[in-house]
């Protein structure tokens, strides 16, 4: 298992089996994850292989919202459950105050059982790290 993937798997308690049939590659400080066939495809040079899983910074690894939406479903640690209104607020780039059992640092924001994206938690403030597209109402 790729060490970056292991790091994410440990922080969020995602079972390693979730990554069993996947391959990860690191390219220009970004970790991509996809099927082995996608990662090995070399007939041409694709613009993108699979999904961006994380961004590598000198002292941290920042998981991506889209990567975690698809692979964070089985997470057991550092997950913060939110209500409908809180989910909308965070998706629209807001922050909220909440005192929950989670380590400071990157967390997964879960709404009705689905990971909606990544947040940054510094007790008691949860700040959205979700990319902003069109507003959610």
């Amino acid at each position: 298992m790729n060490r970056r993937v292991r790091e994410l798997s440990e922080r969020f308690g995602i079972p390693r089996e979730a990554f069993d049939r996947l391959a990860a590659v690191e390219d220009q400080e970004t970790v991509f994850v996809g099927t082995p066939e996608v990662m090995e495809f070399d007939a041409v040079r694709p613009m993108r292989r699979g999904i961006r899983l994380a961004r590598v910074y000198p002292y941290s690894l920042k998981p991506t919202t889209f990567g975690m939406q698809v692979l964070g479903g089985q997470a057991t640690r550092n997950v913060i459950d939110v209500s409908d209104e809180q989910a909308k607020l965070l998706i629209n780039g807001g922050a909220l105050s909440t005192d929950v059992e989670a380590d400071n640092g990157f967390v997964l924001i879960r709404w009705r059982g689905f990971v909606v994206g990544v947040g940054f938690y510094k007790r008691p403030v949860l700040k959205s790290q979700i990319p902003r597209f069109r507003p959610v109402e």
Partner: protein, 323 residues
Amino acid sequence: MQKSELRTRRLDNMTTHSRVFPEAFVERYSRFIPDFDAFLDAMQRPLRRTFRVNTLKATRQQALDLLTDLKPEPLPWYELGFSLNQGEGLGKRIEHFIGLIYVQEAASMAPPLVLQPLPGERVLDIAAAPGSKTTEMSAMMLNTGIIISNDPSPTRVRGLIGNVDRAGCLNVAVCRMDGTSLGRAVAGTCDRVLVDAPCSSEGTIRKSVKALERWSVTAIERFPSIQKRLILAGYHALKPGGLMVYSTCTVAPEENESVVAHLLKRQPEAEVRAAGLPSLIMRPGLREWGRESFPDAVGRCRRILPQDNDTEPFFLALIRRPA
């Protein structure tokens, strides 16, 4: 009703429609579209909002449980497709943002269903943006194997990547290349190929009147040359025994049957198979247009007409490269 009365009524209807549709449009398509008045009526009705449940993110039931307030009605021919009477704001819902659903026109869901990509296969989607069919095939393949999803336009490819991300497709390699060059680069290696060709998009008239304002025979004439190159490129990308779907959302025979006939002329061994989906009404392809007669096999192409299933018009051809 007597024959003469029927004719007068038909002419009256055509006059009414002529106020909406260009005369050349009515003249061209009344020549071969069955139930032509019903066709024109349907083309003037706004499309119902439709969506597909993305099983890479949620089960059908999970998505339906979250959307009960919208009262989705299942499409009769696709268990993951739904229509809404009031679909306003669907794209602003959390369910859409996190990719549990994908807003997609109903007929546009058909080409992947006819192609039937299987888990673990190598699939080429040669003109993929904005990614509706790539993401649909990704779910059909259970996020395994590989879809080489291509679009040459820098702007459109950004939208394609955004949709692949939102839908959670781990089995997609996105390329931005000329389709002909890509077809050559992967020649003989693909189990299935989708050529959802760029077209004059007459089907989108139901989405926007502007499409009708842009309509002209000259606009149609811009597309067949690229369509012919793409269908050949797609065919060359197939493994022996592989399957290809050629599709457009347009009615013009020059962009449909003529393109398939061009493939058959260049690759006479190619087999056109009759495509069908239970409960989706499809009509056979034309056997002639203008001064052009098409081979018998072209009759096995399929036309989806708006009056039959309350969708956009669509054209489909299922083609096999012999083993």
